[in-house]
Symmetry: C2
Subunit: 341 residues, 2 copies
Amino acid sequence: MREALGLVVPGVLALAALSLVVLIWQGGAATPYSVVEPDASPRIDDSAPITPIPPAPVLDPLRVELGERLFHDPLLSRDGTVACSSCHDLASGGADRRALSLGTGNAPGRRNSPTVFNVGSHFAYFWDGRATSLEEQIDGPLHHPDEMASNWPALVQKLAAHKDYPGLFRTAYSRDIDPAAVADAIATFERSLVTPDSPFDRYLRGDEHAISNYAKEGYKRFVDFGCASCHQGVNVGGNMYQRFRVLSDYLPDRRENGSTDLGRFELSGREQDREVFKVPSLRNVALTAPYFHDGSVARLDQAVAAMARHQLGRELTEEDVALITSFLRSLTGQYGGEPLR
Amino acid sequence: MREALGLVVPGVLALAALSLVVLIWQGGAATPYSVVEPDASPRIDDSAPITPIPPAPVLDPLRVELGERLFHDPLLSRDGTVACSSCHDLASGGADRRALSLGTGNAPGRRNSPTVFNVGSHFAYFWDGRATSLEEQIDGPLHHPDEMASNWPALVQKLAAHKDYPGLFRTAYSRDIDPAAVADAIATFERSLVTPDSPFDRYLRGDEHAISNYAKEGYKRFVDFGCASCHQGVNVGGNMYQRFRVLSDYLPDRRENGSTDLGRFELSGREQDREVFKVPSLRNVALTAPYFHDGSVARLDQAVAAMARHQLGRELTEEDVALITSFLRSLTGQYGGEPLR
């Protein structure tokens, strides 16, 4: 609680100071309708539960480029068929649009692939948060028998025998290829995958016309109903764990027996971690269907209604769902100067 | 009923004749375990509700090639952003893996894009069957304001001004570009998109080891429970209309009010067509999630359970669902000599 207050109090002070600035500034304007350049405007609402995505961090371009190549290279997998981008396709919202990603032999895996966009500012990785850095995360898919089914010695050996990689690593890291450099390059590329300038971020920065009134009302309900108590911060999620008990209404038995995925309980064995998962980010959520850790919900409107019912105990009206969905669509950002699709 | 008998009686006679042939043939075999070459075997079960996909028809290769190019060319759309392949991506099971396809301005459309694979042998097109030939189908997306937003005169003019198309059409059709030639080329390419040699087809042709015992039991239940009364023939569907009343459990109000998509009723205005849709093909169904005309169901196991509950009034057990899903996975065929993914 003290920590929470520690965040809130400076926020309120900052807001008060900002309001004063705005009042003074407005007093000096010729008309109440002065055109304000969004970028020049200091009108970020510091009390808002969501903050705009800052520009991409400054990263070593040689490492980003090397990481980009590794990210797309199926050489990382034992049989040369699976790249990071197979399940995290930048042209598919940074994920793969499948309920459960396909592993070796086309068999579906166990959980839904999350998007790779904006992961640089998540607090943990995988649905159960079992990795706390991007570098550590790479260990998972690299070794998983249904994903890349490889290992570090095998990968380093393949990269060292490649016609381009040894030179690229020497240039970017001033040393021969080792696991740390591979992981660093991929993680550095991933940190470059930010999607700023969504309509909602432009709205937060003061451009009142960046989103529709429909989306504004959806945002209001998103906050009022309590969605923002978990989906907040720069990623509108991605910064805490919560119990998740949305059960698929369509699957027999599961409704009585509960999900077979126990989330963080599977790591810790602690009762309080049963069915506890990382709260996913809602950035670009309109592009990352299907939803939830088991990919069991196909459409964003269904996901909104299901979350409200199961997490908040609230039955939304069709209007609530449409408005909140409209707000969530305004969270689609830009990458490479183009809106994501 | 007479029509149904008309189908069943010859089937039974054919089966009896086949059994006799098999008995005679087995009598002459050296052991009861003789190895039979699948392709040489005459053991197709003529009474099976599903028949294997025949090889691709013989088509004019110049027209196929021209159609392939047109199919992938965003020039077909008014603003040059949308090709046929945008929603019917051959690398995504012939569809787009979205619940509802994205139109102009990224707004979701109204219905789920069906796969383009094997459409040459469907009896009608669109979820409501409003086109009865592939050539006629093209009119729909070409003109729809949320899809290509174009028209025939505009398209013919663009193609005629293109550096390659006039020559390609003259070679393939011995005449200048006209709408009929464009439609014929695209439809001819689409007729080439067949996916033979699925594991299940190899099983039907006599290769007992092509599918698992698990999938065989799933097939048995698929037939026993009545799924095959609508999903049958060469496409395991795609040859009749049926009323479809699966309502999304997650969407508020809809549960009471029914779907807002009235299917063929919207064309005919006849009460008996209310919520009547084309029965989709289940060929390659493991790759074409999400499911149903509204893309409301994310996973194949959910779709199986939902269809049984709503169409057949049967609550499947988790085992039933897993077995039938396993059978449906065996319907994934090959294209260009590789299994679809």
